[in-house]
Symmetry: D3
Subunit: 212 residues, 6 copies
């Protein structure tokens, strides 16, 4: 199970969680002899647009922007398009721009920061779509399930997803009970993790709740 | 007086200030030969639990997590227990996890960030409770008074607390008057700091207010 | 056109944008033999006060605090005075203090962080007012137009301001149309940037809206 | 011309310069589900070996180790093999191990540091050979000419190499003359860059030297 | 086996390797109310002196200076004393001072840098001797065996030392053979790691050398 | 006395110490509208040349390059001129270029690193000569005495120089005696700092040496 956090900090948003398969985008440093085009001259040559053409409802975009704090990978217009296509979240090991209106789109955004620069003004350029990338110190492959909330983003390989869900479900159930007890001043040694001693009490609570 | 800031950034919270005596927890890097246990195997061997067993109403927990950005020192469940015991705030030179629900508990949280990892997955382990620790570049001893607000957390040695309060009280009174004058476009040379020239005006204002 | 971002992160505020001519303040490291005075002994010797005496309605203060994270350049009282004088925003390559009440003043604040320390307690001191300074990796001259929003702050030389406004106006108009189409799932190749193919549609939309 | 430095610091060596076509190696973060093999179990599955199988006399290896300071990309044994194959230098945006004996091999080494760890113990793994990589903030393509000396490493696209050599040759000639004059206390305004006024003197010096 | 590197960079020295049991010294941030003494007023109150009083021939001192780059933990005089007592090396997660003469003492020095400041001028103070410390991201306990060379310093728990030596010995023997073959242009697939196919050749080489 | 280190690391040189009055040079970030000139078009417009025109025998140049690691402030040619003028050392809070030949000039160099880039290729430009600057976290005024050795560079205000020399002289004398005793295994409590108990022994040693 891959519970390593993708470190990009999250913007404070209403939609504080999102999950879905990853579309990936890789940036590398710009070199004058390799990236001569002006951004608006031939937009379709820009690879960061192309990652969005693959978007299907429920997708998450994961971008390896190499931690760059001066390039805004996407702006409001392209994020609007991604939202229009059904996208649910964007994780960037770098920055977005137009962050004010971007937050109001209802996408989940896990990023390092915001900047008014677009990437063609700066030192990085998109070079590949849907290849394995690094983001927040974690390798992400296209199609991996990205699960993100206030704590950050986590990558789950598809084949491990069913096992993860089973464990998480069981865990979530007794935590609900324990949370109530702990908030009342209950003993952590009994309730977290749930001790054998407290399990019967939990089972009764669960049975009662079920019958309610 | 120790007005040096404890640097951990604060989460945006309703309860933006807290103060109380410090309980301390020290982390060190994990070493395979010294920390073989699995987190849920013998929970009581985990020292980060023990700092909470000492909690009394009004306490603040201060954690030296060595600036580690990948370990979540406490999660929602343990913070719920601490709140249930009457704790008022947590200062961590590192991260918490379950930060979404954690913010809703009503504790003051002064931290560097959030992460989904718990500490047993990562590079640091708790090694001592209620020893002197470093947090945000400041030494904190158990029992020191920690005072924290939007600006960060400050440590006040108990023996200096009365003197600090006296100075702060006098300062707060004339600042209230000066704030009003400055907001009206008053001259900073007169009102901040309060000049001898403006003092009579302040005294009149104070007297009038007192009689109101 | 100088679209390089001034990197200081923005506090979350209601007033998320501001623009105006720059007043500048330069800090350098403190040296014992050059800065013997106690802060409250002779306030008028402190240069950070003097930048505010120049303030006129609509001004922005830009501070080169050399990225220092332990010095609070201004506190609530001085910011209140600046607001009282009609100031609209403060950009600091470093920190403010009293950040809780400071945020409630209605000024735009673009800063790296907050701290309870005032600068006389720490390692930097103000040395010059209204000289060219560096802030967020950008040179700012007194009188430059600073434009700031959620993405950060940008410097526009006065002589380039009219040209910038013309370009921005034209851009803003077709973006409004394109935003609507993209949100509906429209094709990005048509609408962003606005293609020649979609321009007639845009012109019709614009004409209709104008006649409405 | 790409005169941007590849930032990796150079070890202090007798052979302080090297140049040759680039072989490239890309690392990404390790993920448990994708890199299960033990280093010595199936060595040929390790891609960092494969970059060396392509080595021809005069080659330079350029490694994108993502700035990682805890993984030793190559050790003495593999560097000995590369030297045995005629390799001339290694540029790593990260670390080597066995650095003591490695320095004595006579290869040029441009690296960020040394570590006793080999990469299978740490967080990065080799994922591709002879693809475009980032190293020291510069994009390097397989076959680019890497030129390195005490100042660091520079990338020259093959097509620009002849033009670069022509400019460099002319520049080197007058610099030799100017260096002598400056060391004698000559006027920098005359000699650096070579002024029109000093050019006849240079031409005479050059002619005399040629006839010597 | 604990092969994690202690990151402090090594000074370029003739004696490029050292090993021995660890004496440890812990620093914490200085606080005015807790460290009022002037360095030369009562030297024996300074704990960094006391770690040296425990020194026996062959010892290594390991210092957790919390990565501080402005405090010189030891200077030439104290290092001379340590050398006079038979000490063999010093590992500091921070700085030394008097580094020029210190290098000529013949001690192994693994440090982050040098500074002219002594610690009483700066922000950290020694607080404990021979307690577990963190150094270079690794936990070191008093008595652990520290092994250091050009690659950095490594910690070996005493109980693992015999096993480590056995593995290292076997490894070192075939590496000597393989190194020769690789330097001659031999095939890395055969010789590194030593393949089953090449083992007979190695055994012959070893036998011949033994009989020489 | 200003014993704060100027942090720039020193290159390994034969001449490991230098001292002299400071000439200062200040850099700020480059802005396209303010720095249009090509480097070789009008060299005399470049301010970094002008700091050298002030050089007198024994001078040290101190440069505030704002910690920039990509700009080479001076190269071999200009350093040759400075040496030809009698300059003794250069302290840069940033980089030099041509570092190989530069080291052979016999100047003391205290720098953060080396790079092949010259500053006009990068993000900083010289803006002022002989103004107060920051270097390594210390304020340096033109004419301050800069004293530098393997530990780094220190600034001494001219008026404090005589007092500093007196203290240093006395200190140096007893340290010579103590160093001998400590190297023989003498007791640090007696000899460092020199105790009242050991002073008579020191006085005898000093008298004997004087009569030799």
């Amino acid at each position: 199970m891959c519970r390593r956090s993708s470190r990009p900090a999250q913007c404070d948003l209403a939609t504080a969680s999102a999950a879905g398969p990853a579309l990936t985008l890789q940036f590398l440093p710009k070199r004058e002899d390799l990236y001569p085009v002006d951004e608006y001259a031939e937009p379709e040559k820009q690879l960061h647009r192309h990652v969005m053409y693959h978007a299907q409802p429920g997708d998450m975009i994961v971008v390896d922007a190499r931690g760059d704090m001066t390039s805004g990978v996407f702006g409001e217009m392209m994020l609007t398009y991604f939202k229009g296509r059904g996208g649910v979240g964007v994780v960037v090991d770098g920055c977005l721009r137009d962050i004010g209106p971007a937050k109001r789109l209802g996408l989940g955004l896990w990023i390092r920061g915001a900047t008014p620069n677009f990437h063609a003004q700066t030192n990085i350029v998109p070079v590949a779509v849907n290849v394995p990338v690094a983001c927040g110190g974690t390798l992400v492959e296209p199609g991996d399930i990205v699960v993100a909330d206030d704590d950050g983003a986590v990558v789950v390989p598809v084949k491990l997803a069913p096992a993860l869900l089973a464990v998480a479900q069981e865990h979530a159930e007794w935590e609900e009970f324990s949370r109530i007890r702990l908030a009342e001043g209950g003993d952590m040694r009994l309730y977290y993790p749930l001790s054998d001693e407290a399990r019967p009490e939990y089972e009764r609570w669960r049975a009662e709740r079920g019958s309610a």
